[in-house]
């Protein structure tokens, strides 16, 4: 803090806090989308700092695909209780049972999350949803606003975005519309990890390297769990792996790693030459525009 210059992490945190406060002050019913992934964990951490010593003045929503790592659910419940928040669960399994959506043949519940999310938004009357999206993740996200307007169908129109000038965010919506707000827009994966290490933010142990039983599929390593069933001819082996992202337990691959501490993770990410999605997500490899298409439909 010499010469009154904020470090890049302090500047990024200050920007995120400003965004949280702006939404809390101007929107009627905001809500924070929590997945248990590192980005939503950092988001929750910064939200708690933005309103300290008061509680976070909005609820947390989890779109529960039913395919969660058990460690993530435990983490979620522990932190919701610790921060004294209300949790809204939008259940994909429940929506499948009710016939709102149907299971996709490939077993991915990624795309069917969208109608479940939008239904929960409507039912609860949320007019602002905080998401952990970052612009460095993906090309479509690089062009999305911090305050990303959604019409009454939850759709994103990349050609019709509100200009965002200075920090003067336009939060106005008509009834039935909402805004997705991305407080971590300007963070990179390395920023997130450096921040977690610096602030000593608690994270699920899945992110840390450990000896785990894995099966190799299409060049990726999947740790065996209740959602990963061995196919004929497949064998398991024990490797030292960790998760670089955490999504659904049936689709998120682990990466070989020696990083069993936060500092080692930071060093590993700093040297990484492959993006986190390229390294670990079966669901993002479908097509060059799959993220854009999902976002247009109302995805996170």
């Amino acid at each position: 803090m010499s010469a009154r210059v904020l470090s890049q992490l302090a500047a990024l945190e200050a920007e995120s806090i400003y965004i949280f406060r702006e939404v809390a002050a101007e929107m009627q019913r905001p809500c924070l989308l929590f997945s248990g992934g590192k980005d939503s964990i950092v988001m929750l951490h910064i939200a708690s700092k933005a309103f300290a010593p008061a509680r976070i003045p909005f609820p947390v929503m989890h779109v529960d695909t039913g395919l969660n790592f058990p460690e993530v659910l435990a983490y979620r419940d522990r932190w919701i209780a610790r921060l004294g928040l209300r949790l809204v669960v939008a259940s994909v399994q429940d929506a499948i049972d009710r016939g709102l959506v149907s299971e996709e043949p490939n077993g991915s519940r990624n795309r069917v999350q969208t109608p479940v999310l939008l239904e929960a938004v409507e039912r609860n009357g949320f007019d602002a949803l905080f998401g952990g999206g970052r612009r460095d993740e993906e090309k479509a996200r690089a062009k999305e606003r911090v305050f990303s307007f959604r019409d009454e169908f939850g759709q994103w129109d990349p050609k019709n975005q509100r200009p965002e000038i200075w920090g003067l965010y336009n939060t106005r919506v008509f009834p039935g519309e909402h805004i997705r707000v991305f407080p971590l827009s300007n963070w990179t994966e390395l920023d997130v990890w450096t921040y977690i290490a610096h602030e000593k933010v608690e994270i699920p142990a899945l992110y840390l390297a450990a000896e785990r039983e894995v099966v190799e599929r299409e060049g990726m390593l999947y740790a065996t769990n209740e959602f990963i069933r061995l196919r004929p001819g497949e064998t398991t082996q024990v490797r030292k792996v960790r998760y670089r992202t955490i999504g659904d337990a049936n689709l998120t691959a682990a990466v070989e790693s020696e990083a069993d501490t936060l500092d080692k993770i930071v060093a590993e990410i700093a040297a990484a030459r492959i993006t986190e999605r390229g390294a670990t997500r079966g669901d993002d490899m479908v097509s060059e525009t799959s993220m854009e298409d999902r976002k247009r439909e109302g995805y996170f």
Partner: protein, 421 residues
């Protein structure tokens, strides 16, 4: 953790090599991942390009790939051990002014690209004008494609002289010139051996060393109250913190402050963060301020020093950039206006003139503004605003207009002049 955060705005069309330059910065600073590069190489091959088209890195949306255009502002990141950079990358053709204004509004540095073969163009003039208007403190002019003029010093110097003269008229605060070849990497990250006559730093080194901290206004204390923290719990029953981001100036516990619009005075009791109280707050810190006295302060109010106050005005003399394609700004029309953390309603009293962004000519006969036009406008607002001229204070000198019928953000405005506070 000693690195700081710097925002760079750039603009230009595909042919002046802007995307290649950014791609080169990302690539040579190792901020590009192999799977991203492979995807770009794959598409380049598929389209039959002879070289890897780094522009594909920045063109992300389906319509852009299908039409070969860039739609909107894209944000790119790269970091060196010294600095993290956020680049607001804007296209050169469609909606040029709107996007350029958006990118430049928060930028510390504007990167203007000049083609060594073509010299100063309308676009480069327009870019420099908008960057200056938006108060970007540093302009770095990259004279690109030096390889196509045999790396000739006299070509570079002629462009530098001509552009320098234009910039003087604009009152650019800090202007520097770098001869580069983005395609071959000359003077981008490493020094070019083909231009021994150039003794300055390559682009990246220059961006790393530009001193941006002193650009901030640390003199005039302005603290727009964003949110009042009042815990509804027994542990901290009487806590009342005025949360906000420091717009300018330095605040310390014990400092006398005056709250606007009430004019009531008090003293700062503490400056709080979730990590504990701090000795001082400066921009852009996000803090919560507690006061010694129980005075009425709410969102939209502003804390300042008793003897250094902004202008409290209901008449705004402003330069406005119109950003809406479906309607124009006309005399007599009403809009919602957001300034710092305060909303008001505004009516257009008069349009004084429109500025031609290419020639800087002032058209006094203008009666309105349409998409991408900039003009001097007089506004009357429903409640007092606490403003400073934009050139003194980017935070308290800026506002947006919102159409209440569509909720669209239709204009960016800067306070051109204000009576002394």
């Amino acid at each position: 953790m000693a690195s700081d955060l710097v925002r760079v705005a750039t603009a230009g069309s595909v042919d002046d090599g802007k995307s290649t330059l950014i791609g080169r910065l990302l690539h040579d600073s190792k901020s590009l991942f192999t799977d991203q590069l492979e995807a770009v190489e794959r598409v380049s091959r598929h389209r039959g390009h002879d070289y890897t088209d780094l522009a594909l890195l920045t063109d992300g949306l389906r319509a852009e790939r299908e039409q070969g255009i860039t739609i909107d502002v894209a944000y790119r990141f790269f970091a060196t051990p010294r600095r993290k950079f956020i680049i607001a990358d804007t296209p050169g053709h469609v909606q040029y002014t709107r996007n350029m204004v958006t990118g430049a509004s928060t930028a510390d540095i504007a990167l203007v690209l000049l083609d060594a073969r073509r010299g100063i163009t309308e676009q480069s003039r327009r870019h420099a004008f908008l960057a200056t208007l938006l108060g970007v403190p540093h302009i770095v002019a990259c004279v690109n494609k030096m390889d196509l003029v045999d790396y000739a010093e006299d070509v570079f110097e002629a462009i530098r002289d001509e552009f320098g003269e234009f910039a003087t008229r604009l009152r650019v605060r800090d202007l520097s010139f770098i001869p580069v070849s983005a395609l071959h990497g000359d003077n981008v990250v490493t020094r070019s051996r083909k231009m021994p006559w150039y003794d300055g730093a390559p682009l990246l080194g220059h961006l790393e060393r530009l001193h941006v901290a002193s650009d901030r206004n640390l003199v005039d204390v302005r603290f727009p109250v964003q949110y009042v923290i009042r815990p509804q719990s027994y542990e901290v029953l009487d806590y009342r913190g005025y949360a906000g981001t420091v717009a300018s100036g330095i605040l310390k516990p014990g400092d006398p402050v005056r709250a606007l619009p009430s004019g009531l005075e008090s003293t700062i009791a503490s400056i709080d963060t979730a990590n504990g109280p701090v000795d001082e707050a400066f921009p852009p810190m996000a803090v919560a301020i507690t006061l010694v006295d129980d005075i009425d302060v709410s969102r939209g109010d502003m804390l300042c020093r008793p003897h250094n106050m902004p202008s409290v005005v209901q008449d705004l003399d402003a330069l406005v950039c119109w950003m809406d394609e479906s309607a124009s700004l006309d005399k007599g029309r009403r809009y919602a206006l957001k300034h710092t953390t305060r909303w008001a309603r505004a009516v257009v009293k008069d349009v004084s003139y429109r500025i031609d962004v290419n020639t800087l000519h002032r058209d006094q006969g203008a009666i309105g503004l349409s998409l991408n036009e900039i003009g001097r406008v007089q506004l009357r607002v429903t409640q007092p605003l606490f403003v400073d001229p934009y050139q003194q204070n980017r935070e308290t000198g800026s506002f947006i207009l919102v159409d209440e019928g569509t909720n669209k953000t239709v204009a960016a405005g800067i306070i051109a002049w204000a009576p002394a506070g």
